[in-house]
């Protein structure tokens, strides 16, 4: 089986200060649009028009992507909590509606006059 060596790029290939390209600019704009639908507590404090480099764009992309995931995860958790609270409420209500215990029943029964017995 042939093993083919793949050369690694030089360390100089990385440049966080490279000017942002059109694709990353578009991605930033798309994420900015999505960010507007998030509640304020999830939003970044980044002014996107000040993003000029790849490194700055990536930092913003990370922040908003993670915020979107977190907002959804928090909503799922809240939904689960509500469902659990509701289920417990049903259980409590169901147990309160159960019939009274036996001694109470006998007492009620004794109060009834026995009219079958001869006087």
């Amino acid at each position: 089986m042939t093993v083919i060596h793949v050369p690694r790029p030089s360390k100089a290939a990385v440049n966080l200060d490279r000017p942002i390209n059109a694709l990353l600019l578009a991605q930033v704009q798309h994420l900015h649009e999505a960010e507007q639908a998030l509640p304020h507590s999830y939003r970044s404090k980044t002014y996107i028009r000040a993003i000029k480099t790849e490194g700055e764009a990536a930092a913003y992309v990370r922040e908003v992507t993670e915020a979107i995931h977190k907002a959804h995860a928090d909503a799922v958790a809240a939904r689960a909590k509500r469902a659990l609270t509701q289920k417990r409420g049903f259980e409590i209500a169901a147990s309160a509606a159960e019939p009274a215990s036996k001694p109470q029943q006998n007492k009620a029964k004794k109060k009834t006059k026995d009219r079958t017995r001869p006087r």
């Binding site: 089986m1 060596h5 790029p9 991605q27 704009q29 999505a34 490194g55």
Partner: protein
């Protein structure tokens, strides 16, 4: 039933960025004349009128700076050579002129004709020669990334030819939604590199269905554990950025990112699948590029079935409307599977609408609500059963190959 198709359980699509067929695979005509790459007869005029031939002088980084223009008006110039008349004919003669517009430097503009040698791209060229290479895979529209990637997700770009956010229009659902909502349910994931790179499909998918997304490290774990979904779409790293573990280099190959980094990434995806023997036997991997990035290719894009959408003259920027009735420039596309005969060359026409078309037909069969472009798109993996076309089946070997390469 062909054994390769019968065993197929997973399809993985890796979509890279902004390189044309001739630029990346054009050198392979010398190794296999059936591959329609670079020949001595090709060329483009520069702004002095001199003919500039393609040259094997492409560099990994620092050469295509500024980023060649690949927006709709520039691609129109590249394809039609500057002819804007009503009965114009595409001639692929406008690439050097288009690149000249960005820097007004004759010498620099000629670099748009440069291509890589085979040994500069050991991963992509090996895969192209070892498995199936597509001579006629085109971008879906003659324009930029966002709308071309939309065709891969939805089978349409909903009338968009630009990079602005768009909202999907019913009844067309993403291929991921179709799969996960099907009965029986199928599985699908979009693996982006990490959260700092994220996805290019934000406004519709990430914002509304974040559960569809995972990361590349998870893709590697899923491959190792045999937990890949039925369909996986892998996105490369779109930016150089910091992480807790150090700096990450962009590996999408979008100019001016280092092309070697992208080669490493392609090898990583291939190796991850191949390292799990059960997965290797049951997976097909498509490596494709979203669009040509403004870089030279010699094949005239064909006409295609018009989409139900259109872009007005104001939107295209060319002064002419666009009916989504012709494809974009040719891009590299390679299909990998141990069931594909070595040296397969495919000459049928494909574009990115072929991706949801193929996935839908293979996993779901008949599905009504698809764009006219997707319905008419050719498929690269035949469905099981009588609806499949045996003559077009690329996974045609009766036994799995044992001679497939590894990358170190």
């Amino acid at each position: 039933m062909p054994t390769g198709l019968d065993n197929l359980r997973h399809i993985v699509v890796l979509m890279m960025e902004n390189r044309s067929f001739d630029h990346m695979l054009g050198s392979l005509t010398a190794a296999n004349p059936a591959i329609d790459g670079v020949t001595d007869q090709l060329g483009n005029p520069d702004t002095t009128g001199a003919l500039v031939k393609p040259q094997p002088q492409a560099e990994f980084q620092g050469q295509l700076d500024p980023d060649p223009d690949h927006h709709f008006p520039a691609v129109d110039l590249q394809i039609f050579g500057g002819d804007t008349s009503a009965n114009r004919v595409a001639n692929m003669q406008g690439f050097v002129k288009s690149y000249f517009n960005q820097q007004r430097d004759v010498g620099h503009s000629q670099k748009i004709m440069y291509y890589f040698t085979q040994d500069q791209l050991p991963v992509l060229t090996t895969l192209a020669l070892e498995f199936a290479v597509f001579n006629r895979w085109f971008a879906s529209i003659p324009g930029p990334t966002i709308c071309n990637r939309a065709f891969a997700h939805y089978g349409t770009s909903f009338g968009r030819v630009d990079m602005n956010p768009f909202n999907l229009i019913e009844p067309y659902k993403s291929i991921y939604t179709r799969l996960v909502m099907a009965t029986p349910k199928h599985t699908a994931k979009v693996y982006y590199y990490d959260t700092a790179s994220s996805t290019m499909e934000v406004v519709n998918l990430l914002q509304n269905q974040p559960e569809l997304f995972s990361t590349y490290p998870q893709f590697l774990k899923d491959c190792a554990a045999g937990n890949l979904p039925d369909y996986s779409f892998v996105e490369p790293n779109y930016s150089d950025h910091d992480t807790d573990g150090g700096e990450e280099v962009a590996n999408d190959q979008h100019p001016d990112h280092d092309v070697q980094a992208g080669e490493l990434f392609i090898a990583s995806v291939y190796n991850a699948i191949k390292a799990n023997p059960d997965l290797w036997a049951t997976t097909a991997l498509l490596i494709v590029y979203d669009e040509h990035g403004g870089i030279y290719d010699h094949v005239v894009p064909p006409a295609c079935t018009p989409d139900r959408f259109s872009a007005s003259a104001n939107v295209t920027g060319t002064g002419m409307p666009f009916a989504f009735d012709r494809l974009g420039v040719r891009v590299p596309a390679v299909l990998v599977s141990p069931w594909i005969p070595k040296g397969t060359v495919v000459n049928r026409t494909f574009d990115h609408a072929s991706i949801p078309a193929t996935i839908t037909k293979f996993f779901l069969g008949n599905y009504a609500n698809r764009s006219p472009r997707e319905i008419s798109a050719d498929i690269f993996i035949e469905p099981l059963g009588p609806s499949g076309n045996a003559a077009n089946n690329l996974l045609s070997l009766a036994a799995m190959r044992t001679d497939c390469p590894d990358f170190d």
